[in-house]
Assembly symmetry: D2
Homo-oligomer: 328 residues x 4
C-alpha cells in the first residue's frame, strides 16, 4: 500500500495551541524527506471546502518552530458538518491530487476526520493539538506543557501581590471539561487549593481549607480554579460566597483567559510536535489510517482515532494527594 | 541640618509595584554608605501604628533587587487616616529613634506622609512606586516600565490566537484614572485602537475604525482598553455593543488583571529604583523634606510632595497620533 | 519499621538545579504532613560535617517553589570523602537526633550517600537534581526540563541574528558526559546539526551537512554542540576547522554557560519535585532505604541507589533520526 | 520641497537589534498614511547595489512589531565603500524611482549614508538601531533597552548558582567601545563591581573591592565586564589574575554573547521605534535631509547626521557613584 501515498494535505483545526507550527513543520519536512508532496490547507475544514490550498516545501516552514499560533490558521466550519460541505471538500482534495490528510487539532477536529473517512475512505492521521490535554491516547497534547508554564508564570506574578498584601486570590485557568491545567499548574504555582471539574470538592471543604490555611500561619493564598469546575458557581460567585462566609478574607479574582493559548512553545512541545509529525507521515506511508499519533509512557504510539474521540483522558488522582500534602 | 538625621524609616504603601524591593535595597544601602541607621517599617502606615519595625543593614537586602512585590509588605491603613492613629505612629517612631521617613508608594501614600508631616513636622521624602504612572513630578513611576513589558508579552500571546483565528480581541489593562499603560502598551503591542480615560473616542469612532481596519485587509485586531475608560461601558458591554453593530465580528475579551502588578522588575525599573533611593536618602541628609524624588527628562530631581499629590501626570498626546498612524 | 523515623535531614549537593527548592519544600511539608521533624542541612555534606543545621517547618519553605538555586546552598566537600569527615558528619546527625536523610543531587552526591550508608547504616533516599539528565533510574532529573527551555529561548534569540545576517552559529550547551540537553534543545531550537558525546558524527559529516544545508536554500544555520562532544575539538577549534574547509561560512560561536543552571523552574520541574519529595519521605517512613525516587514512564518509582549510580542514562536514539529529518 | 518626495526606500544595516522590525513597520505605515510609496531594500547597502528591492504596503509589515532581528536582513557591504559600488546603488535607486532613504543602523551605516548623500545629493534620514547605545544625538538607540533586560535576566539566572554555591562570577556583556550596557545592567543585576571602557578602574581597585565585599559578609558576587573594557586583560585573563591574587576565590566566567542582540523588543523599544519611524518619514516629507531622528530628554528630535557620527555618547557618570553605593 505504501506506494499509494503521493500527496499529503495538512491542516490545523479547532482552538490554536503552541506547537501546532512545529507540527506543521515536521509534517512538511518529513514529507520532503520521503519525497512526498505536501499541501497546506488553510483555515481547517473550511479551507478544504473553499480549496484554500498551498504547496509547501521544506523552506516554507523556516523559522516557525518557535512561533505560537498556526501559520495555516484555524477555523470552526459549520459547513463541514453537512454532507454537502464534505462533498465539496472531497472534490477539492481530488482536484488537487491530495490522497491523505494529517489533521492537527482536538476532539472535534478528529470527529470531522472520522466522518470524512467513513464517507470517502480518505486516509487520515490525527495529531493532538490543544492546551487542555483532554484527549485519550496521549499523555500530552501539543500546547499543554507550554500552557502550564504560561499559567505558573502568571500566578508567580500574582503571588508577588498576594504575599505583599496578605491577600487571597482566586485564579481561573482554562479547562472546560478537564482539570489537567488547573491540577498541574496549581501544584506548580503552590496553590492552596485546586478546584477541578473531575472532583467536586464541595464548598464546605473549601471554606475549611482556607480556615486551616490561615490558622497554620499562611498570610496569603492562591486558589486555582478550572473554568469548568463543577461546584455550581463561577469564580466571581465563589468569591462572594467565600467573602460572605469568611469575612476576614478580601478575595481578588483573576481570569487568565486567552493568553494561555499563545506564546512560543516550550522545548517539550517542540520536540513532541517534531516526533508526532514524523510518526503521522510515516504511518500514512506505511498504509495506516484513522489513527492518532500520541505519546504514552514516553513512547510515540498510534491509537485508533475512534478510541481517541470516545475515550476520556483521566487526571492523575495521585496528584490530588500531592496537592493536599503540599498545602500543609 | 545634615547632622540631625540619624535613623531613617522606610516603608512601602498602597498597591505593590515591581521595583519597590530595589528601592528598599537602595535606601538601606545608601543609609549604610553614609553611616545612618535604617529601619524597615512593615505593612506601610499600619505597621507604623503597630510598631512593626525591623533594623536593616546592607545584608538584609541581599538578592532582592530582582524580586517583584515588597519584602516590607504593604497595606492600606484606615487607622492612619485618624489623628489617633497618627499619634500612635508618631509615638512609635520616637520610641524607635526614627527621625525621618522614606515613603515608597503612590498618591494616597504621599498624602498620608504630608498630613503626618504637617502634624508632627516629621521629615518625609517620597519615591513614586505604582504601575499606573499617574504621579506628577516624574516621567516614570517604579513598576510602570515592567508593567508595560508584562502587558505587551501577554498581548503578544493573545495575538497568536487572534491571527490564527482572524478574530477581534478586547484586552483590558490597568489604569483607573490614567491611560499611560493602555496607550504605550497599545502602541507596543500593535493595537488597532486604544481606549483611554483621557480621551473619549466615542463609540461611533470605534465602530468606524474597526470597519476601516477590516476594509484595509486586516484579518485580526486587538483593541486595548484602560479599565478606567470613560466611554460609559465596561469591556464586556463594549463587546456586546460591537457585536450588535458589527455582526461580522466575533469579539473575545481578556482582562489582564493582577498579573500586571507583579514579576521581576525590568532593568529600567531597577536602575531607576537605585537612583531614587540614593536621592531620597541624600536629600534627607541634606536637610530637605516634603519632596518626592522623581525622574524628569532623564534627570533625578525633587518635586514638592504637595505638588506631586495635586498635579496631574499628562499622557503624551503625540502618542495618540503615532497610534493612529501605526494602525494604518 | 515505620515507627522508627522521627527526624529527617534534607540537603542539596553538587551543582544546583532549578526545582531543588521545590523538592526541599516538598520534603519539608511531607514531613509536617506526617508529623515528622525535618532539619535542613546547609551546604551539602560539608554542612553535615560542620553541623550547619536548621529546623524547618511548613512556613520555612513559603514562596520558594518558583525560585531557582537552593536555599540550603550547595558545596562540594572534600572532607566528606575521608572517613574522618564522615565520622564528624555522623556524630553531628546523632547529636541532632536526625535518623534519616534525603539527598537532592546528582551522581556524586548519591555515591557519598551510599558510602555513608555502608559505614553507618544510615537510611538515605536520593532525589535526582541536575540539569544534565544523566542519572539512571529516572527519565527526567530536576532542572532538566527548565534547562531545555532556557536553552531554546537563548537560541531563539541567536536565531534572530543568524537569520538577519545569513550566518552560521555554533552554540555550545551544557552536558559533559551526556547529550540530552543538546539533542532535545537542538531539535527544539531547529538546529541544523547536533553534536553530542554519545555519537561521533565525524568532521566530514558535519561539513557535508552544512554544504547540503546551503544547497537546500537555507540562508542561516544553528549547530548545537554539547560541551562534552567527543569530536576531539572544542567549539572554537571547530569554528576554525569549518571556516578553513568551507570558506563561504563566517561562523560565530556562543557558549551559553552557567545561565543554563538557573532561573525559575518550569511547571514540569515543580510538579516533579513535589512528587519526588513526597515519595522520598514516605519511602523512609515505610522503612525503605538506599533508593532513588525517580520518574519512569510517567510513574514515580524507586531505583536502588547503587543502580542509579552505576547505570547509564541513555539518549533516545530515535531522536537522532527525528533531528535528521527535521533538518531537511 | 515637500511635494518632491514620492517614494522612500528603507533599509537596515550593521548589527541587527530588537526594534528594527518595529521601525520598518513604522516607516512603511507612515508612508502609507501620507500616500507615499515605500520600498524595502534587502541586506542594507549591499541590496542597494544588487537592486534587491520589494514594494511594501501596510499589510507587508503585519505581526512584526514584536519580532527580533530584521525582516529586511542586514549585511556589511565592502562594495558600498567604493565609488563604483555607490554608483551602482544610485543607478538602482533611480531606476526604481526611489527619491529618499531611511537608514536604520549604527555609526557605520550613517557614515555610508552621509558619503552617499555628498556624492549624489540623496536625501537620507537615519534611525539609530544598535544595542550598544553608542550613538550621539539620542539617549536610547533601538534595541538597547531590550538588551538591558536580556542581560539582567541572564544574570538573575547566574545569580541563582552564585548564591547557591557562594561563588564569584565574571559576566562579560557586549559593548566594545561603550559601557552603557555593562553600567546599567550591572546596576540592574546588583553587580558587585562593573568594568567599562570609559573608566580604568585598575586591577588593584578590583581586588580591593572584592576583598571588601567578602569582609562585609557577602557570600557571592557578580562582576560585570564590558567586552571592550580597557584594563588590558580579557575576561579569562582577569579570572586568572584574581584567582592568583585572591586564592580564596573560585571564579567562574560567563560570556553572554550573541543572545544579547536578539529577542522580542521591550515595550519601550517598540514605542520608540514607532515614534522614530514617524519622525523620519515626516522629516523627509518636510524637505529635511541628513538628520538622525533620536530621543533626547524624552522628546523626539533631529540631530545632523554628521554630528551623530562624530559625536560621542557619554555614559552617565552619576551611575558609577550609584553603583558604588549599591555594592555597600
Amino acid at each position: 500500500m505504501s506506494g499509494k501515498i503521493k500527496k499529503i494535505g495538512v491542516l490545523t483545526s479547532g482552538g490554536d495551541a503552541p506547537g501546532m507550527n512545529a507540527a506543521i513543520r515536521s509534517v512538511v519536512r518529513t514529507c520532503a524527506f520521503h519525497n512526498i508532496e505536501c499541501i497546506g490547507i488553510y483555515r481547517g475544514y473550511q479551507g478544504m471546502i473553499e480549496g484554500d490550498f498551498k504547496e509547501m516545501g521544506p523552506r516554507s516552514v523556516n523559522n516557525i518552530v518557535n512561533k505560537g499560533g498556526t501559520i495555516l490558521k484555524s477555523a470552526r466550519s459549520k459547513e463541514f458538518m453537512t454532507p454537502e460541505g464534505r462533498k465539496k471538500a472531497f472534490d477539492n482534495l481530488q482536484k488537487a491530487g491530495i490522497d491523505s490528510l494529517v489533521v492537527i487539532g482536538g476532539d472535534g477536529s478528529f470527529t470531522g476526520g472520522l466522518v470524512f473517512n467513513k464517507e470517502y475512505g480518505f486516509p487520515v492521521i490525527g495529531i493532538p493539538g490543544t492546551i487542555d490535554n483532554d484527549i485519550f491516547g496521549t499523555s500530552h497534547t501539543l500546547g499543554y506543557d507550554t500552557a502550564l508554564n504560561t499559567v505558573v508564570e502568571a500566578i508567580d506574578k500574582i503571588r508577588d501581590t498576594a504575599s505583599s498584601h496578605n491577600r487571597l486570590f482566586f485564579v481561573e485557568v482554562m479547562g472546560r471539561d478537564a482539570g489537567h491545567i488547573a491540577l498541574n499548574a496549581g501544584i506548580g504555582a503552590g496553590a492552596e487549593e485546586i478546584l477541578i471539574p473531575e472532583e467536586d470538592l464541595g464548598l464546605d471543604r473549601l471554606l475549611e481549607s482556607l480556615q486551616k490555611s490561615k490558622a497554620s500561619g499562611k498570610s496569603s493564598s492562591i486558589v486555582v480554579i478550572a473554568e469548568g469546575d463543577k461546584m455550581g458557581k463561577n469564580v466571581f460567585e465563589l468569591k462572594d460566597y467565600v467573602e460572605e462566609n469568611l469575612p476576614e478574607y478580601d478575595v481578588r479574582v483573576s481570569v487568565l483567559g486567552h493568553m494561555q493559548r499563545g506564546g512560543a512553545p516550550s522545548c517539550f512541545d517542540r520536540v513532541l510536535a517534531s516526533r508526532l509529525g514524523v510518526k503521522a507521515v510515516e504511518s500514512l506511508i506505511a498504509g495506516k489510517s484513522n489513527y492518532m499519533a500520541g505519546l504514552i509512557k514516553d513512547e510515540v504510539v498510534l491509537t485508533p482515532l475512534e478510541q481517541a474521540v470516545k475515550g476520556h483522558s483521566e487526571i492523575d488522582r495521585e496528584l490530588l494527594r500531592v496537592s493536599d500534602i503540599m498545602s500543609t
